[in-house]
Amino acid sequence: MAPELAPAGAAPAAPAPRRPRGGERGPAADRTRGRRVGLLLTAPAALVMAATVAYPLVWVLQISVTSSATAVTGGHFVGLENYGAVLRSGSFRDALWHTVVFVVLTVTIEVVLSVLLATVLAKRLAGHRIFVGIFALPLMMAPIVSGFMWRWLFADQYGLVNYLLSLVGVDGPLWGGSPFWARLSILVANLWTALPFGILVLFAGMAGIPEELDEAAQLDGAGPWQRFRHVTLPLLRPAILLVLVVRIADAFRVYDVVYILTGGGPAGSTNVLNTYIFKRSFSDFQFGQGAAAAVLVMVLSAVISVAAFRVLRPKEDAQ
């Protein structure tokens, strides 16, 4: 099937009769041809995305600058009034703060744990395939089911978590009873659903790391931690950055687990941006403000993602 692959860096075999597939017309023609190819390859996806996402995005932008009391049709232009109202709103600022803290915490933990677990998985110990399957389990469970299961696990009287803790003599906390424990329960439940993504992506990323480099370093006398820091980690960097940026986007959009576990409580201590948007739109009937908040969230999370990416990416591009 695949043609024999020469090891990286080796010269190609003896010159074969060259078919002029662009290699001979010179670098400029090559680049033009390359650009054209790029356009052709990316056009279908870009067009489909534009066709299916343009309407909602334009709608959101439009509604965000409209006064919308009862309907999403009608209403008049109000400039940035909705944005102002949202930014002035105490509950938005609380939700923002909660979300940002949540994002920082969960993404940091996710990246660290994903790297750890992916690294161990990549050692391909006997039976590692089973572990890969187990680590993928949370992805396979519908969020509505896992959300309710976690709420139930954290329940005080008939919840498994406190029951198991009691078996080892620990008096489990009231998971929904105080802001701290409520937030922790959301963090844990969310980690359960979020970690598999990072683990799988990093595991797949590690598949591309040649073993010889690691072995060479080992022969040179480097210890496991040094090998990890100087061989594995740099090569894994692109994958880590990818996971980081995608997970920042996802963590900003957290909703199901919060809604099901705490509903934003107790006393609004676990309100996040999405619960704010939802409430503003469907409960308070302020669709314009909900849309404005959504735009703000999009911009903010994109900015943070890009910033994280810029700060952490290697100085020279991966290629």
Binding site: A16, V60, V120, W150, Y255, S281
Partner: protein, 273 residues
């Protein structure tokens, strides 16, 4: 000795993580096998005694149609997304053009949109297109959902492939499609599989849009069906967990089958010397 300790430590790490991931699933399974009374016992009953299948049989064939909808919508959306994303990711990775960075960014930024705000515009859009309560409408909404993620992931994976291999193949006379299909894809098969599974699951488990756009069994998916067990006054835990488990089975089966492909892809396309 060192080696043994390291091995042991590695297994320990995996085991702890495995327990964390398995426990809720196991609990869901056990719950689904309990009779109603034991479901909510205080303190919790771990093992159902006796185990019963009443929560599974009680469902009836009514939910099969939800399952059918989920399968059709997810499979078709995944197929379409792959067809769009693979060439696009390759294009972004290897054939940049003047605004390709911007186009890539535009595709990728869609993932930052809070899904909640999409429900009304998509409802309006599908309503006007006459696609409300249709699987086609659902697929139309799931494709961008998956494409944004897949393009993002695949672009990164494709970029990791050493250029020399593609250049060698180019010199050998392989065209763009040939290089993509015969060099890049085989080399990134594990990552491709991961991206496919993640994309597929995004549609498979999606609730909000399926609920907004669906009205009847013509297009309502399993997550919507499962949500019906949570009513304003009570939650039918038995049915919820039983159907939750049932809904996981197809994915587990597919992933199991795909795993073999994953491993063979690894041994075939790996860069071992």
């Amino acid at each position: 000795m060192n080696r043994v300790l390291t091995r042991a430590a590695q297994y320990a790490v995996l085991a702890v993580a495995a327990v964390f991931f398995v426990l809720p699933v196991l609990w869901t399974l056990l719950t689904s096998l309990k009779p109603d009374l034991q479901l909510r016992s205080i303190p919790p009953t771990i093992v159902p005694s006796p185990p019963t299948l009443e929560n599974y049989t009680g469902t009836g064939g009514g939910l099969l149609v939800y399952l059918r909808n989920s399968v059709v919508a997810s499979v078709v959306a995944t197929a379409v997304s792959l067809l769009l994303s693979i060439p696009a990711a390759y294009g972004f990775a290897r054939f940049p053009y003047r605004f390709s960075g911007g186009v890539f960014g535009a595709i990728v930024i869609c993932r930052f949109v809070p899904t909640i705000v999409l429900s009304i515009p998509y409802f309006l859009m599908m309503s006007r297109l006459g696609l409300l309560d249709t699987l086609l409408g659902l697929v139309a909404v799931y494709v961008p959902l998956q494409t944004t993620l897949m393009v993002w992931l695949l672009e990164s994976f494709f970029r990791q492939v050493p250029r020399e291999l593609e250049e060698a193949a180019q010199i050998d006379g392989l065209g763009v499609v040939g290089r993509l299909v015969r060099i890049v894809i085989p080399l990134t098969l594990p990552s491709l599989a991961v991206a496919t599974i993640l994309g597929f699951l995004a549609s498979w488990n999606e609730f909000l849009l399926a609920n907004t756009l669906g009205r009847t069994t013509a297009s309502q998916t399993m997550p919507v069906g499962i949500a019906s067990f949570v009513t304003s006054f009570q939650t039918d835990w038995g049915q919820l967990t039983a159907n939750g488990i049932l809904y996981m089975l197809p994915v587990m089966a597919v992933t199991l089958a795909a795993q073999r492909g994953l491993i063979s892809g690894l041994t075939q396309g790996a860069l071992k010397g």
